[in-house]
Symmetry: D2
């Protein structure tokens, strides 16, 4: 039987259809309840679009939803709740649903302050609840392949990390003034103390972690306000010190004309190196010291099984962003089911609330480093 | 309210999950009935996996399904039926459902003989029923962009067409002897008189048509049996004569080691040229005479709206095969709805039963050309 | 001591500076005599530019040059003569210098008719003279790597060959009417019975031979006159039958907008495949059956020594067209020196007069095939 | 008449054949004198190989050469002298030849200390002598195209610069222990206080300057010793502050497995961006805000004439490293000739002694920044 999930937020478009597609792509779950908008009409319309046929489970606000849904038990109870509201509301909503005992999937960033994020992590732990934070890009099959290769020592000891996430949308938005979306992200009151670092720098930070297992011990950041009139940084350059004296270089930009969502990760080791680019998401560049460059293709039998199981088509048939979302949901749900069945989950991994907390800490340290003239700050 | 559809076949894996994802990716339709397998247990299991909760609509055979479902009317009636059974059964199943008045979506090839295919086309026409044939790759947004550019004269008059679909899977299958799937395709009794041409050559033929509007008037084909022990060809090279003396060159192979599903289309004109590669599906190479090479990115505002509307994410976020399937389903369903509402459909296009007939004729002509030593044969 | 060479033609620009650079790039030879133009002033100027300081060796016509130079002996005698005149004069000039006993380097095509070409081959053989025909692209180090891999069986038995040489220059020239150069090539009186096939189709034909050792036994060609007003074909599609029933597909075009000099060669085998593209000339795509795609980089130690010796820089430092020319000259000269020293030459290969004859035969067969409606014609 | 040049150093291989090819590729100059090695036999052999036929101009040491050659006048006098000796000898040799009144071409780095470098700059100025420092990569035609585009405002105001030069050779050398060459570079006594920064970081620094005209005002550097046993850094990450608050990010590495000489430059502006990669040296990625990505191809008419004139072949025919060297030499010589003829030189640019001084200052500032824990240091 399929898992049942509820959703808070989602009528605003943007990321929420990706969550819907991700949650349902493998036929493992169905949407059973939600509060998609505080506007009744939008709420009802979204419920219909997404097939919530039981209108008693479409709620006017998230508190009512949490209250009412927590009364349901057994097969009738939601297996998990998805939070896709604006960043500044994640904390209060997640907190309530955790208190009511629901496993969660929450968009990143987890919260706006380290304190809030840590409180959520603690609540999840105390209540024994799984909690995924959707760092989307970590869901690609070839990121998992990278992780397996690194864990198996295929590239030796890591020596240097170079990761970047250049985008151009802000340059376009500024001339097109097209989007409430753009403006929302540029308002410090809603978005916090950082723009590019919080919005996409944190994606890089977690992508490195997903691929290598490493989190930075300290950071040195330089923020650029481009154009200078921006209230927050649109471009950020970050040096990281990872364990074992591994240096990392992270760059995120939203004014990098000619770069769309060109996330790129390079990890160098003593015996080899791997490189992944979002524009070529189904392949992984792999070089073993002294050998030619190779391109591993997703779903090919020479990949590790942990990666192969995340592919749904044959080699050469591209999977994209929705499927990456799907892999995070699938892994989260596999873990939910395994726990319920009292067995060890198979080796599916997903970004957890602890990763979400790390992300908020990372942003915080970068902000402090930049404020102090690009000095080293412990994370 | 969502459209309802039924499915014949699907428990065997392979292409059927792609149909499911394609049909549901835009939240426009839900699976309501089906006969997924003639084996009762597999049938029931598939129905549960795919959420057909009304077990009375899970049928032991397609004839019963057609009979029973044709009795339902109004909101209760299936809006369309999807056929994903082996190729040699398409004809009889499609025929019956057309006779019962159901719009259809059928996997390609439409049928094994030209006569059967034409009969289906005639039946659909007589009954006024929409009928899509899922030439998957035509669903990519940038193929639609190519078509719009060509129709708007952006590359002038077409001068030459070069298209190819090299794969390597058969070379692998032959050494791995892994797959009933491979063997099924290699048995002339089930698959017809042609292997590579029928299986993937026809994908190229239609991709050219989707992008340019052109169908070949005559063909000259050379089939290669590689290895020589194969009963059917695994590699096919085809010269085409298109209207206005445009020459086309098509190559399809299933023994092209190093090429996965590397469909590639190049259309040259008097004022420019376009190129699309499956490996980089979200971009279109565009060159205007005398200017630099350009890469148009899906969903970007400089694309034609007919292409932009087929994208679901932002530029730079890859969409893949399932989304291409989704575009065919979406266009088919937009047309279904428009017809029901008595209005002109918006400009959504999809491969029709007439295209399916052309595909069978094309295969037939290639077979004849090859049998006669690579001579020109009218299509 | 450096070898001494003479040159016939060269004041017209075009290909001749490439010959000069190719001949001298490895400091093995110096230009000592020449007849660069029949116009005295241009002749003298070119001699000065290229450093022929002994003006007594700058001749008003090639016959005088042949006569006078043939009187010199010992260290004073030219080691070889380079012919870079228009195609329709190759035969008479080459014939005379062969009769006078000079080894030759001649631009392709060797001659305009098979009979002339064969006569030159016979003359060279009778006189025991080395004779290189500069099929430029065969000089790239990675083409030699391809050949070695194929000869060592690294990709098994060859199963299919796909090669192409699309250019766009003619489309540009036709709108820009810029060039006597273009017009010269389009005049059948000077250029023969074929344009695209003779000019660049033959480059493909030899590139295949250089990489695989194979020559076609029969061909089937379709010529396209694009635009239709052209006297000769600007686009040519050729099916080849190579020994062992290997099919080859060759395409050459001079109206392929968006393609500059995009020579590309793919050779598929039973155990692997190789691919080379001019645009990425220093790398070779290599796939072993069941393994990931690899890119071999020129000069890397994993290449065969016969390829490595053709590189002059470190891996990653690009070499280009002049260096490819240089490799042909170097190999030719290594063979000259070895013969003089009475030893076996090291394994340097270059396109010979026999290859030049094959090229003319190939063009001839293609012309016949096309004239007869694209039928098979023995080469 | 050709220019005459002399050379100091060159018998050791390595970079010197590139200088020879660069100096002679356009038939503008000939080698007339030299001191190629202090070992008599090697010296004589090199002179013969490179065609210095007047053995009286082959010298046992550079001092004798400077002395003797300074006595020659008029057509007999060397037009310039090339210095390709080890880095720690550049200063003394350059100083002497400047004092004797010879224009110079010197390999980079110009000198080991800022003081020495500045002294050379001052000497050149006082004596009115042209002095080129061969930052090779700046010679590519598309770097000149980038510079012209930026100067013409084609990408607006520069906002951010990202440049890198990852290599893998040191990782290979350390396991292969193949090379005195490697070891020479790793010895601080000969190479100075920096390895990766001085060897290739400085190439990046100048490439940015060549393309944009910008030099950093201050730097913040982090050096990594990989493996930790190295005496000097093999990997360096540098933040730069350019004029107008433009941030730059430079990364150089010699342990980046999978990267050969993968110099890459990205310059972002308010209206567009350009990107150049060494692996694809004949193309420039250009994006105008709101438009698709474009690839400008060298020698195409849409490029600026200052770039076009640096190409020797047709678009699509690759030029490589030697030709880049050639462009530096050609520009230097065009300036020499113009000065001699008392006219303004055409717009040929080359890296000068002032650029060489900047390079040494840059290295110096990076060393200081790293020693102090990655703090900002003025250049």
């Amino acid at each position: 039987m399929k898992l049942k999930f509820g959703m808070v937020g989602g009528a605003g478009g943007g990321i929420s259809p990706m969550h819907m597609r991700g949650a349902t792509i493998d036929f493992m779950a169905e949407l059973a309840a939600g509060c998609f908008s505080r506007k009744a009409e939008k709420n009802a319309k979204q419920a219909e679009l997404w097939g919530v046929t039981d209108t008693s489970r479409v709620y006017p606000d998230y508190k009512t939803m949490a209250e009412q849904e927590s009364l349901r038990q057994g097969d009738d109870r939601l297996d998990f709740v998805v939070i896709v509201t604006p960043n500044d509301t994640h904390y209060e909503i997640a907190k309530l649903f955790l208190q009511k005992g629901f496993p969660l999937v929450c968009d990143k960033p987890l919260a706006l302050t380290v304190e809030e994020a840590e409180e959520l992590e603690q609540l999840a732990e105390e209540n024994g609840l799984l909690f995924a934070v959707t760092y989307t890009y970590s869901g690609y099959a070839m990121i998992r392949q990278a992780r397996e290769m690194i864990e198996h020592g295929d590239i030796g000891e890591i020596t240097y990390i170079n990761a970047e996430y250049p985008q151009e949308w802000l340059s376009l938005a500024l001339v097109q003034e097209n989007s409430a979306n753009a403006m929302w992200r540029l308002d410090p009151k809603q978005a916090g103390k950082s723009q590019a670092t919080a919005d996409i720098g944190t994606h890089i930070e977690y992508l490195v972690k997903a691929a290598t297992g490493l989190s930075p011990k300290r950071v040195l950041a330089k923020f650029d306000h481009i154009p200078p009139t921006l209230a927050m940084e649109s471009n950020t350059t970050i040096l990281c010190e990872y364990p074992n004296n591994v240096t990392g270089l992270l760059w995120a930009s939203q004014i990098a004309i000619g770069q769309e969502c060109d996330l790129r990760l390079r990890v160098f080791g003593t015996k080899g190196a791997i490189e992944w680019q979002h524009q070529d998401a189904n392949r992984l560049k792999v070089t073993k010291l002294g050998g030619p460059v190779q391109y591993y293709s997703a779903d090919s039998p020479y990949n590790y099984p942990e990666s192969v199981r995340l592919s749904r088509t044959n080699p050469g048939h591209p999977e994209g962003l929705f499927e990456a979302f799907g892999n995070i949901y699938r892994s989260f749900m596999e873990n939910l089911i395994a726990r319920r069945e009292g067995r060890e989950p198979e080796s599916f991994t997903y970004p957890t609330v602890a990763d979400g907390v790390d992300g908020v800490r990372f942003i915080d340290a970068c902000v402090k480093s930049n404020e102090n003239g690009s000095v080293w700050v412990d994370v």
